[in-house]
Amino acid sequence: MSKYLILIYQDEAVARQAEGESISASYQQFQQRRGPSLLGGAALHPSSTATSIRRDGNGGFLVTDGPFAESKETLGGYYLIEATDLDEALEIAKEVPAGVGVEVWPVRVAS
């Protein structure tokens, strides 16, 4: 089995609207259906609440408002899943009822 991180992207404007909402019925259904494959996951607050910390190269840090990459699509949440291979991971990811879409990243397992 392999582990994958599914990053859920949504439109920033839609995300702001949904702020404070409890988990939607479609996500509840997805979680029930794919429960055995889901290792973890969470919804995130809007990107305006994120803080980036960048190393300044001199042992210090540069702390700035917002995520690393500003774009129309922002990270809204994630799932950590387990699947036999990428095909199964993609099948699961397609069922995530995400607004814009999702990214699937294989998780590196330390040896």
């Binding site: 036999t84 291979d85 990428l86 095909d87 991971a89 699937v104 294989p106 040896s111």
Partner: protein, 437 residues
């Protein structure tokens, strides 16, 4: 070499062995590699074992004679090497990302399972053409792993530096291993969509060879041949698939005209002026019969429709006999189901021949706004041709000059220059060279 002085004469001359190995490389590479991947556990290790097997064939076939089934010999040898290498690396194995972890392969995996091997090739195709890989990577992997081309050859085929191609292939292989792209034939529910992706890759290989996007020559025959071989391999592996039959039909029906596409100076001869006696009748017959098979299966796919259009040309006795209404009808179906700008461009050309050049030109002009066609030389070239036929040489000149700027292919450049020279000058006198149209 066969020597005097009592030296043992090798049972098979080295030239004969070299030819047999080269032949086996061309015909059996995918077969041997695909059958070795499962034993090796990853693609790189399998490639290495297969290369070793070919090297040892070169060394040992001279003494032992060329085996009757070269593919089986090479597969057994490659699998044995892969297994040895894997056992040697067993201690470090857990650290390596694997294509699949089917467990330690047993000795029974070394046996040649005549039923299993075609499946292995199919698995390899679906891995190379997995939609999670970039299309350029899919094409590169297909040529590298299924056709056995070296990285340098693949780079040459697509006119990119070898280092760029090597990096592209390495990145793709890393993704296959790290993301666990599976080595298997997709489930029935997904098969249709995935086959379509594979066919697009094979067609891209073929068209890149049939009309090279750049370079001095119109064609890269080697690449076109590889495309045909891949289409044949797919048809052998998926004999019941109508889309696969459609693609093989298209490739055969297009390739049937290869011998008439260039003149003695390697200049382009338009379909209109081709010597149809040079067309390959056997390829046309085979293509038409495959096309029938594909069409009989129901709603025709994209490649079957393109093959049907090609078949109308291939089967008409002369240019004036061409049934443009039939061709237009087929393009209408194609546009309806796959409305790409390139298909619309071809439909506009068919419309010109079926219903009048003014009507065709109006369609072509409308397509000028398509961003996808902005750098596509054939739109300007087709406009130029219709403008000539409509008696507007001045406007045709502008169109041909535009096409000339857009093409990177030497033969196409020569063709467009000839057309420009053939246009009447501003005083209405005919140019020195006769217009090819």
């Amino acid at each position: 070499m066969a020597g005097a002085g009592g030296q043992l004469m090798p049972r098979t001359a080295s030239a004969e062995v070299a030819a047999a190995v080269a032949d086996a490389h061309r015909r059996e590479w995918a077969f041997v590699l695909a059958a070795t991947v499962r034993v090796a556990g990853d693609i790189d290790a399998a490639e290495e074992a297969v290369q070793d097997a070919y090297a040892s064939a070169l060394a040992s076939w001279g003494g032992s004679g060329i085996p009757r089934n070269t593919g089986a010999w090479l597969t057994v040898t490659a699998r044995r090497r892969a297994l040895d290498a894997r056992r040697r690396a067993a201690t470090a194995e857990h650290a390596l990302p694997k294509l699949l972890s089917p467990g330690e392969p047993g000795v029974e995996d070394l046996a040649i399972d005549e039923e299993g091997i075609p499946d292995d090739r199919l698995r390899l195709i679906f891995t190379c053409c997995h939609p999670a890989l970039a299309v350029e990577a899919q094409v590169a992997l297909t040529l590298r792993l299924l056709c056995g081309l070296s990285t340098a050859e693949v780079a040459r085929a697509f006119l990119v530096p070898e280092a760029t191609m090597a990096a592209r292939i390495t990145r793709a292989k890393k993704k296959i291993a790290a993301a666990h792209i599976p080595y298997r034939v997709p489930a029935a529910s997904e098969l249709h969509e995935r086959v379509d992706g594979v066919l697009s890759v094979v067609y891209l290989v073929y068209t890149t060879g049939h009309t090279a996007p750049s370079g001095a020559d119109l064609m890269r025959r080697d690449l076109a041949e590889r495309g045909l071989e891949l289409a044949r391999m797919l048809h052998a592996l998926l004999p019941g698939d109508a889309d696969v039959a459609g693609l093989l039909a298209l490739v055969l029906l297009t390739g049937a005209r290869t011998g008439a596409r260039l003149d003695g100076h390697r200049d382009i001869v338009l379909l209109e002026h081709q010597d149809r006696s040079k067309w390959d009748r056997r390829a046309i017959e085979e293509g038409v019969s495959l096309l029938r098979e594909s069409l009989a299966a129901g709603l025709p796919g994209r490649f079957a429709l393109m093959a049907a259009i090609t078949a109308v040309h291939d089967q008409s006795g002369s240019w004036p006999d061409t049934d443009w209404h039939e061709i237009l009808g087929l393009y209408d179906l194609l546009v309806e189901r796959w409305p790409s700008p390139v298909v619309q461009l071809n439909r506009a050309i068919a419309l010109g021949f079926a219903s009048g050049f003014a009507e065709g030109l109006a369609e072509l002009d409308a397509l000028g706004a398509e961003p996808q066609l902005a750098r596509y030389p054939y739109l300007a070239a087709a406009r130029g041709d219709f403008l000539v036929r409509l008696g507007r040489p001045g406007d045709a000149r502008v169109a041909f000059e535009e096409a000339l700027i857009l093409t990177d292919n030497g033969a196409e450049e020569r063709f467009l220059r000839a057309r420009l020279e053939g246009l009447p000058d501003s005083h209405g006198r005919q140019g020195q060279r006769e217009s090819p149209s």
